[in-house]
Subunit: 223 residues, 2 copies
């Protein structure tokens, strides 16, 4: 049990885009952590044991070195930024910080929530084609607005030429878009920025298809 | 045009819960602002003029005194906290701050997005009963988890005995829950905290039914 005392823990699911955001941030900050798999498909997030840690029953969940539990990806990432300011994920200046949070929240509060597994199940049951159609519709719609936002803010990355929290929210969203077969042609900025980011080790190493809980058949086709 | 130069501007819609969050924060901080109505029902958020200001086409949008535009309620509120730290909306201590952000984000990223007007229209068209059923389902489901979270954090308010950003996200959510006729009996903590908050001027004055763009017939029954 020594590792539990010395390392923080991330409860994650390989395909959860919100978990991926946190994996990127941890890698970015160079924080070593223990990965614990919560299999969303089998319903592990609703087990009695897990609900004691995270009463809201979702991933990701971060357990600090002192054993404090933090839910919600952006709350975790802001926490990491506060305890370890080196390699900042937010720029200096209140206005720039607000712009970065805006982009992250467009993804976290507008685009992503509609493609949570619980929503897909409710809307389409086991019908994978219907799930994909729903996911495609909302992602495409969200990307239209996001592309326009980025036209006002982007340089090499979402805000200018430094990597920020916004980029850590963008890349996992593209992974979902690929699952829903979203036509990316109308979104050249989103595409260019995420392609650039995906050449960086922090984004590559944390890819869903490189996680221990990723099924082997996906691992082969992943990257 | 003098007011534009001296006061920040909030683009808001009376019934938008995300706009209400920001109205509470502005009132809490004692920041005077100009209220500009964006009528979501008539589609004003998609007008060419508004899209220039906010390419994502949603409310709220905050224009700083220097004319910088910030979208997304939580980004605006974090900005207000950074530029005016008096009457803090986040506690001291990284862990407590994370807990407050967690609660706010459960509301902003999990519960609220499913009841955005665009989603309601897509799912139920003009069928108000079907809209209400959908809103009721997702709010009730979300409140189950939120109530359990609050069991671990609440005092008088969402986190202990000081008002935080989490409380500013909670109250507007209850307003929506009432619209969907959510049975609040299973949620005694949510109910007790929001009732306490609604006795305070910052929450009362910013209520949807007290905004200039609220139709008169609602104003009469509102509070």
């Amino acid at each position: 049990m020594a590792s539990e005392e010395s390392k923080p823990i991330l409860y994650s699911y390989f395909r959860s885009t919100a978990s991926w955001r946190v994996r990127i941030a941890l890698e970015w900050k160079g924080i070593d952590y223990e990965y614990r798999n919560i299999d969303l498909v089998s319903g592990a997030q609703q087990s009695e044991e897990y609900l004691k840690l995270n009463p809201y029953g979702k991933v990701p969940l971060f357990i600090t070195k002192d054993g404090k539990a933090i839910a919600q990806s952006e709350a975790i990432i802001e926490y990491l930024e506060e305890i370890k300011p080196e390699r900042p994920m937010l720029p200096k200046g209140a206005c720039h910080r607000a712009q970065v949070r805006s982009i992250a929240q467009v993804i976290a509060c507008d685009i992503h929530p509609l493609q949570n597994l619980s929503v897909l199940k409710h809307v389409a049951g086991p019908d994978m084609e219907k799930r994909s159609e729903w996911g495609n519709y909302w992602t495409s719609k969200g990307f239209e607005g996001l592309e326009s936002m980025l036209e006002q803010t982007a340089g090499t990355y979402c805000l200018g030429d430094n990597i920020t929290m916004a980029d850590m929210f963008l890349v996992p969203m593209i992974f979902n878009a690929q699952r829903w077969k979203v036509d990316m042609k109308p979104f050249p900025l989103i595409t260019r920025i995420s392609n650039t980011l995906m050449t960086l080790p922090e984004f590559k190493l944390t890819h869903p298809h490189r996680q221990v809980d990723c099924p082997d058949e996906l691992k082969e086709t992943g990257l």
